[in-house]
């Protein structure tokens, strides 16, 4: 890992000095990833991967173009600036183009850890070895993925913006499979600071699920109450967040248009259950994130509070056009929980299904935000408040908007991974009623 704040500053200055256009915005980004993948109780592929990116956007009035290169020698930079300026001069004027952002009030990020940055391949292999051996001795086939990433970046522009950020992260997930009885279990974690990592606990959780999910019984599809563990909750909330754009709503092509009456305001209206709250906060300690989005400051932002829609994401142009403040894409998502244990959640369900994780989520109907997907790696029946053995997997057809109306209870927040995106999130498992398990999946 090479570049200091000073290095970014001088590189930025060098590039801006070459720029003749009216305005320019630079995005300099260096990453160092360490990747360990395993399957069948052995390391398979792996890697130490260094990357560097220089992104340059220039504009002449409302004509603009962007280029990204990954070579940082003088010749490559000179050529890139020349090319992107030629492209911009030939680009049609974009009436919606705005000059580079003005400097804002940026928070001091807290998503970097020296310990994580110091992790080397030998350390990582030493940490992963006992987890793989744990699988071997439990008689399961395990497959997992550990990734440590260090990132260092600078956002710089001709309006005086200079933001330097460093971040670290470790993510780990593991699937344990029991050949006898076709059991499968999955567990995951995500941390900023490697010293918080407990790989053995994650491995053990996957193994326990694999053993418990052997010899699944048949259960019919249908709408039912589910206990959705945090990975599935995270997927549904990610999907919801991608669709909270102000412009699509204003243009009558958002699922949100279907949630309010013609004369009703969306913002300030309760459209979800009163136990649904969702917000972002770059300085949220259990799951922090970056403090700006392409130079626009990120602040603590409430999206949904007690079921009331509080804010939508607003692009700069749309904000200017409508005389409102821009509200950038969030870097994390937080849903507070009631803090109940998973056992307590299960105990509250008379008849239902416990779902470990969701998979292959794809949009079926943008008008209702209907998504389909499947359950995977540990699905269990719940009867009279107790686990009543493993059951087959299901395909679901459900909208996150419905889920936020149908929350019955929630548990303790966790920072885990899901199947859709890997931004930091801190969400609880949920009890959701009327969840549409649409058909049976034979996968196990």
């Amino acid at each position: 890992m090479g570049l200091s704040k000073q290095d970014f500053e001088s590189l930025g200055e060098k590039i801006l000095n070459l720029v003749e256009a009216d305005g320019a915005q630079l995005w300099l980004h260096e990453t160092e990833d360490l990747q360990l993948r395993s399957a069948n109780n052995d390391i398979t592929s792996n890697g130490v991967v260094d990357r560097f990116k220089i992104g340059i956007t220039v504009n002449y009035g409302k004509q603009s173009a962007s280029i990204e290169i990954n070579q940082s020698n003088d010749e490559a930079i000179r050529e890139a600036v020349k090319k992107v300026q030629q492209m911009a001069k030939l680009a049609p004027e974009d009436p919606e183009h705005l000059p580079p952002v003005e400097p804002g009030d940026y928070l001091t990020p807290i998503n970097f850890s020296e310990a994580t940055a110091g992790m080397n391949p030998e350390d990582a292999l030493k940490q992963i070895r006992p987890v793989i051996e744990q699988g071997r001795s439990a008689g399961v086939d395990s497959a997992g993925y550990l990734e440590r990433s260090i990132s260092s970046s600078a956002q710089i522009n001709t309006n005086g913006v200079f933001i330097h950020e460093q971040s670290t992260g470790v993510k780990f997930s593991i699937t344990a499979r029991a050949a006898e009885g076709r059991g499968s279990g999955w567990a995951s974690t995500q941390v900023t600071d490697v010293s918080e990592l407990d790989l053995a606990a994650v491995g053990d959780s996957a193994i326990q699920k694999a053993l418990a999910s052997r010899n699944a019984k048949a259960r019919k599809a249908g709408r039912t109450t589910v206990v959705l563990e945090a990975p599935g909750v995270r997927d549904l909330l990610s999907i919801l967040s991608w669709n909270l754009g102000q412009r699509n709503y204003d243009e009558d092509r958002s699922f949100l248009n279907g949630l309010v009456g013609e004369d009703q305001e969306l913002i300030g209206n309760q459209i979800f259950g009163e136990n649904a709250t969702l917000y972002s906060d770059p300085l949220y300690e259990p799951a922090p994130c970056g403090v700006h989005y392409y130079g626009i400051p990120r602040k603590k932002t409430m999206w949904i509070e007690d079921g009331v829609m509080k804010n939508l994401m607003v692009q700069r142009f749309w904000a200017q056009k409508n005389g409102i403040d821009p509200l950038p894409w969030p870097g994390n998502l937080i849903m507070p929980g009631e803090g109940k244990s998973t056992d307590e959640l299960i105990a509250s369900v008379e008849d239902g299904v416990l779902i470990t994780r969701l998979w292959y989520l794809r949009q079926v109907q943008p008008q209702t935000l209907l998504y389909t997907g499947l359950t995977r790696d540990g699905t269990f029946a719940i009867k009279d408040g107790k686990i009543d053995g493993p059951v087959n997997n299901f395909r679901f057809n459900e909208s996150p908007a419905n889920v936020l109306k149908n929350i019955v209870a929630s548990g303790k927040q966790e920072r885990v991974l899901g199947s859709e995106g890997d931004s930091p999130m801190h969400v609880p498992p949920l009890v959701v009623k009327d969840f549409n398990l649409s058909s049976v999946s034979e996968a196990s």
Partner: protein
């Protein structure tokens, strides 16, 4: 803004300047070719001296250019160039891999050492060593044949054509339209300790558009995306597309969708056009027959497969008429290339996956055939999506072969359906991690009544089990109906890699397939005002 206003004040010389901006990349490629033997020697000799029994060195340059037009505005003019190298080593039966964008000899020695450290850190606790096959040494050069290099076409021409699409849509009554053009060039240099030195270059192109109609009073909206597939082709693929006409048709179809009756769920006969079927082939045949998946290598991510090795030469995957063939040599195939990223020559490695309905072979990378006791070694299916990715097994072009009767067309297949649906265009897709239960939508679902098209349905999805579905196939179009679809971004692996792949198909008929009403699925009791497009740019 009038469409040509932006050109005022721009000299003709300015326009050709832009088209020359990639010429330096071609020069840079020549310079890299000159440098390559020395860099390869540094990596491979260093790896060998540090104990590697096998090593390869990949140098890759990926250039792309994209243009995005929204209504009458051009909002994205982007270029991207990524250059770097990687070293992969095998030490005592363990892999190590490391990559960098820095092409100095010092950096290459350093990544070689990182790769060696990753491999050596597994010594003493591996359960099983990784074993490779011996590959021939090739001194080779391969370049995708194209007519017009998209990187030499002026921005003016590209923008003009994109804005023409949007204008056509807006003039026909669309409220919104965006169009997009993405061109990618991959240059790859490969050297390995078997003695191969291979240089390759290919280009791919993805033009697309999407039109949207809104009905604020009724609270509904409908979209229709273009059908033109991405191809490994030059600019001619975009130039020769009658997109203006298709955009107008798309708007008419979106209008018809908004007004169409909501489908009654239940079993119906289904005729599927190649523009939709290619993705069904991808998900229900392509992914299940990846050997690494079947053996558990993807268990923590993409999943495993119902199609396990004991089913080879035994499983009746489809009806007798179903033949599905794999190759990396098809003209315009997105997976087409001279050598795979393990250095296996693809010519002569073409293979049937399903022959006369029976499952016959897996897709394999280097060293994998021996894991299931197959002779003949790899069938050339390794791919790495950039200098920073390790090669893994990825899909060749996988295509449904035409039926034996050349006279059969979509119309004749439809003629033999009493109450059914004809599906066109890629919609949304989802399938379980062992590839049993799938659910797909389309851009357009035509209603079939008594052998004829009879308007449209909305709120449709078709759902089933892969093997049952292919066994329900009772009709295939003839040679003249064959079309190739495909995806730029098939997702697999951890970290995720995106691979381009094509799938040829003919129109095909499937009897008594489960049809869902997606409005009911979303919990709406009454028929909605919605259509079922979706999908977007997610990985396939």
């Amino acid at each position: 803004m009038h469409r040509r206003d932006w050109l005022k004040g721009t000299s003709a010389a300015g326009i050709t300047l832009l088209s020359s901006r990639w010429v330096t990349s071609a020069e840079a490629a020549d310079a890299l070719s000159e440098k390559f033997p020395r860099l390869a020697e540094v990596a491979l000799s260093h790896a060998t001296s540090l104990g590697a029994s096998f090593a390869d060195f990949h140098l890759m340059q990926t250039d792309s250019e994209s243009l995005f037009a929204r209504e009458e505005m051009v909002q994205g003019v982007d270029a991207d160039s990524k250059l770097g190298c990687s070293v992969r080593v095998l030490v005592d039966g363990a892999w190590g891999f490391s990559a960098t964008e820095n092409l100095s000899e010092t950096a290459i020695r350093k990544v070689t050492e990182s790769a060696i450290a990753l491999a050596k850190g597994q010594a003493g606790w591996r359960a099983k060593p990784i074993e490779l096959e011996i590959l021939p040494a090739y001194q080779g050069n391969w370049e995708l044949p194209i007519e017009v290099d998209p990187f030499t076409v002026s921005l003016e021409d590209k923008v003009e054509q994109l804005l023409g699409i949007n204008r056509s849509a807006l003039n026909t009554g669309a409220n919104y339209c965006f169009s997009y053009l993405l061109a990618v060039r991959e240059r790859k240099w490969l050297a390995n300790t078997f003695g191969s030195r291979i240089t390759q270059s290919r280009v791919r192109l993805h033009p697309s558009f999407s039109v949207t109609l809104t009905d604020p009073k009724q609270g509904g909206f409908a979209s229709r995306e273009s059908f033109l597939p991405p191809r490994a082709a030059g600019y001619e693929h975009f130039r020769d597309w009658n997109a203006v006409e298709e955009a107008a048709l798309a708007v008419e179809q979106a209008k018809e969708k908004m007004a169409a009756p909501s489908v009654t769920p239940g079993k119906k006969d289904l005729v599927i056009a190649p523009s939709n079927l290619w993705l069904t082939i991808h998900e229900t045949v392509g992914h299940p027959t990846e050997l690494d998946r079947a053996l558990g290598y993807e268990a923590n991510y993409a999943g495993t497969s119902f199609c396990t090795p004991e089913k080879l030469d035994d499983l009746r995957y489809g009806s007798e008429r179903v033949n599905i063939f794999a190759d990396r040599t098809a003209e315009q195939g997105l997976s087409t290339i001279g050598w795979d990223d393990d250095g296996v020559q693809t010519k002569g490695k073409e293979f049937p996956i399903i022959k006369d309905g029976i499952f016959r072979n897996y897709q394999m990378a280097m060293g994998q055939a021996a894991l299931i006791g197959r002779d003949g070694g790899s069938n050339g299916c390794a791919y790495s999506d950039g200098y920073d990715s390790i090669p893994i097994q990825r899909m060749p072009n996988i295509s449904l072969q035409p039926g034996t009767d050349d006279a059969v067309t979509a119309e004749s297949l439809i003629a033999d359906v009493e109450d059914g649906i004809f599906a066109e265009g890629r919609g949304s897709w989802s399938i379980d991690q062992q590839r049993y239960n799938f659910q797909f939508t389309a851009q357009v679902f035509h209603k079939i009544t008594d052998g004829k098209l009879d308007g449209m349905y909305k709120d449709v999805a078709y759902q089933g089990n892969s093997v049952d579905f292919w066994n329900a196939c009772d009709g295939l179009g003839g040679k003249g109906t064959y079309e190739m679809g495909g995806s730029f971004r098939c997702g697999k692996g951890q970290p995720g890699q995106g691979a381009p792949v094509s799938h040829g198909a003919v129109p095909a008929r499937f009897r008594q397939i489960n049809i869902l009403n997606t409005a009911e699925e979303s919990g709406k009791k009454t028929a909605s005002k919605c259509d079922c497009s979706g999908g977007g740019t997610a990985w396939a």
